[in-house]
Symmetry: C2
Subunit: 351 residues, 2 copies
């Protein structure tokens, strides 16, 4: 009785617009007009068409529509690693926005392999009207070439100065700057920085910020590290050895690894050493002490990428870059260094 086929066995071939037309006693053109509203249809045939559509459970074949319109109503999202909650959140942001606009989302995971990004994006772009490329690790040259080959390309967390590739990126420099300011105000003078992957664009942005923030009243010691929590775990000892009173990690993940190591070593945070992260992932609120970090709304990042995607005309113009300013959130993992009376300002909370 419903529209759904509840039989278990052979599935009848899907009804076409011709079946509907026959059922309603009109031409296929009329059915199309009723469904798309491209041209008005008088009430009586419209009724018959709608009834026939419901009766047959007809839904237009997207392939045929796509063939004719030359457009797919889909957006492709390419991420380095779906296991990373950061990218999962960005994907969610894009998907939700796209769903709202009746767009489908295609997803590809490159497994953190820079070499796979190009092919994944190219392949996905056949099935989509454009691509959202998250934190691409590929070279600048490769990216430029890709942008020319893909109808619409939007980058997340990768700005390329020379090109006109639309991008939405966290303002890493502002984030690092606010962490540095926070630590300096607490009285820290020597900070160890756990570096991210050298090839990552966001790491280079952080380095720029560190050069600006470092100075006579804030010495920054660089420790090679990485982007995973085990990297942070391994690098923690070297960071301690520098004699720094605070450690600034590349990301929350890295910071959590370091935190686990300190726990093993019996080094108490923040009493003996302060620790900061970056990104504000969900876990950072669950560990003890809760992590002082910089928060970025990852779903918002995805949403803005979508908007950029929409704004970018099908002709591929528009090269706007959206910067998202992250916010410092002070929690329990930072304090004044031992021997320094904490400055009496309760709300260091940046805006």
């Amino acid at each position: 009785m419903g529209t759904a086929q509840t039989g278990t066995g052979a599935r009848p071939p899907r009804a076409t617009i011709i079946d509907v037309a026959r059922e309603a006693g009109v031409s296929p053109a009329t059915v199309s007009r009723v469904l798309t509203g491209s041209k008005p249809v008088s009430a009586e045939p419209e009724q018959r068409v709608r009834a026939a559509v419901a009766r047959l459970g007809y839904r237009p074949n997207p392939a045929a529509q796509g063939l004719l319109r030359g457009t797919t109503s889909a957006v492709g999202v390419v991420v380095p690693d779906l296991s990373n909650p950061y990218f999962a959140e960005v994907l969610k942001g894009v998907t939700n926005a796209a769903q709202h606009a009746d767009f489908r989302t295609l997803v590809a995971d490159t497994g953190e392999k820079a070499g796979a990004e190009r092919d994944a994006a190219l392949e996905l772009s056949r099935w989509a009207d454009g691509i959202v490329l998250c934190s691409p690790r590929m070279s600048q040259w490769e990216l430029t070439e890709l942008a020319a080959a893909v109808p619409r390309l939007v980058c997340v967390n990768r700005r390329s100065r020379g090109t006109r590739i639309p991008a939405v990126a966290v303002d890493f420099e502002a984030g690092v700057a606010s962490i540095c300011r926070h630590l300096r105000e607490l009285g820290h003078r020597r900070v160890a920085y756990l570096r991210g992957p050298a090839r990552a664009w966001s790491e280079r942005a952080r380095q720029r910020a560190l050069r600006a923030a470092g100075g006579p009243d804030l010495e920054i010691v660089q420790i090679p590290c990485g982007s995973s929590s085990v990297d942070g775990h391994s690098a923690a000892d070297a960071a301690l050895a520098t004699g720094a009173t605070a450690i600034m990690a590349f990301s929350d993940y890295v910071a959590l690894g370091a935190l686990a190591r300190f726990d093993e070593l019996g080094v108490s945070v923040p009493e003996e050493i302060s620790l900061t992260g970056f990104d504000d992932i969900a876990l950072s609120r669950l560990v003890s002490p809760r992590l002082t970090t910089v928060t970025v709304n990852k779903q918002d990042l995805g949403l803005r990428a979508w908007q950029l995607f929409v704004d970018t005309g099908a002709d591929g113009i528009a090269g706007s870059v959206v910067e998202v300013t992250p916010e410092l959130v002070v929690r329990g993992s930072t304090a004044a260094p031992a021997g320094v009376t904490s400055p009496r300002r309760e709300t260091v909370h940046d805006r």
Copy 2:
């Protein structure tokens, strides 16, 4: 010089198979045969075709292929919440397997709204050859009806006894049983269970296991809770009030919330109370103490769902159900209750 169009301005319309045929001096049929290998083509024309394809950067239009073949080479994945790393991992498993088979992955996020699942799956199924439905919250009746309306439907973590819907599910009962055994062997006699969402199928499976495991030597006290870490945080006090010596949480997330609460209260784990999770998410290894839990390979879950998807013929037969047995992993959050000398078996590690 390369195949990619590096010009910045107007994008030329994509080359069609007819352009290639003209360029190679053959018919479109021959081009198709070269590319699909559907019929042998002699060496000399094949060379010309391949050269022309490379020169024009031709790639077949998937919409046209889909229209003709009646198939999309895509699989849709419907998840309750992409922010949940659990589902992100399952998605990754499906995507990787699909990528291997030259399939695209479409994704939809229902925002944990059971009412949205049906429509999302139905809509996605227009663009895909089938659907992988993760932890559906919808009613049994609705699920059965959906299975009839979607070409191929595979469920993850939801078995429905009456129907022949292929499914891959964690053996929650075995997981809960192994946790209970572990706690009993440590000497615990009274355990508080932080319940998951009542409507979740996996919660009902856990209840079955608890009924089997509970008995004179193991009393289980049920505490209403939920599935998020804040739920665990809130329910922790009630669990403590029961006087239980161990707490079994619905999931790792919930357990982490409870752990954070214990930290606030100054209740030490595992000395004063033992705590267990379920799922073994990445964070569980980073907190202190590290969480005793049951590990399930979420990507493997996705991979097996894909295999089931492949096995399920286009005619929709096959109703096999794959059960994945989770493994107990003992870490620092469980110990013998106070006053009980820990039984001397170092490796309680289940198989």
